[in-house]
């Protein structure tokens, strides 16, 4: 389906050369993009910071995003969480995180019993093909999440103006 991906697996012998190339590219990046080079937390670290180390369960959250995108500059995302949204049992926060943008955070939405329905939409930027995570915090302190893989052909965020 995606012929470009085969290259990665079929070139074991080129591994050392590739490592050198990656090293060179990385050091160049350090010099040319001082701000972007500040190591961003990984997706898992960002999730842990959000949950405070609490376990994350799969389910209850529906992350709706097109799987294949032409343009990463404005991607419609909808997050839907199964919840009765009563004062005793509702969604407190819904957060979105990404894997490969320059910054892991996308947005944090604060909801309450007056929301009526735990559903939010927004439009986001994606720098490259990557995984997105939606995570919801409920009133009982539990965390629920859902992931989506997205393929982006035209990236956002890091393009230069010239």
């Amino acid at each position: 389906m995606f012929p470009g991906l085969d290259i990665m697996s079929s070139s074991q012998s080129l591994a050392s050369r590739r490592d050198v190339l990656i090293g060179v590219t990385a050091s160049l990046a350090v010099f040319s993009f001082p701000r972007a080079a500040i190591a961003r937390p990984s997706l898992e670290e960002a999730l842990r910071a959000f949950t405070g180390g609490q376990p994350i369960n799969d389910g209850r959250v529906k992350l709706d995003i097109p799987p294949l995108l032409e343009n990463g500059n404005a991607v419609g995302v909808t997050v839907d969480v199964e919840s009765p949204m009563t004062p005793q049992d509702h969604v407190r926060r819904i957060a979105l995180f990404n894997e490969k943008n320059p910054q892991a955070d996308v947005a944090v939405f604060h909801l309450g019993p007056r929301s009526g329905r735990a559903r939010v939409s927004t439009r986001i930027r994606l720098a490259t093909s990557q995984t997105l995570v939606a995570i919801a915090e409920l009133t009982d302190g539990s965390f629920w999440s859902s992931r989506a893989n997205v393929i982006v052909t035209l990236a956002a965020c890091i393009e230069d103006l010239s």
């Binding site: 320059p102 955070d105 909801l111 929301s115 939010v120 927004t122 439009r123 890091i158 230069d160 103006l161």
Partner: protein, 107 residues
Amino acid sequence: MTARALINAPKTARKGEVIEIRAMIAHKMETGYRQGPNGQMISRDIISHFVCTYGGVEIFSADLYPAISANPFVSFSTIATESGTIGFAWTDDRGETQTATAEITVS
């Protein structure tokens, strides 16, 4: 600087009904990760916080990051409880706030 804000909320609703509110504001949401033609980084300038109030009480808020698209759009729900004003406030990195309002009649 006042930017154009677009609000889409029902003008009338039945009491207890869940209504959807959509809000957008014109803003470039400069990420701080782009280089200008002179090779200098373009400094970050984004709307970082959005709040919606209903009858003066906060019902929804959002923390936004550079990964939100230009002209940030947010859609969410609330329960129509009373006739009154729904207020919207967008705050940028420099702490400047822009507001908009919508009236709703609840029967």
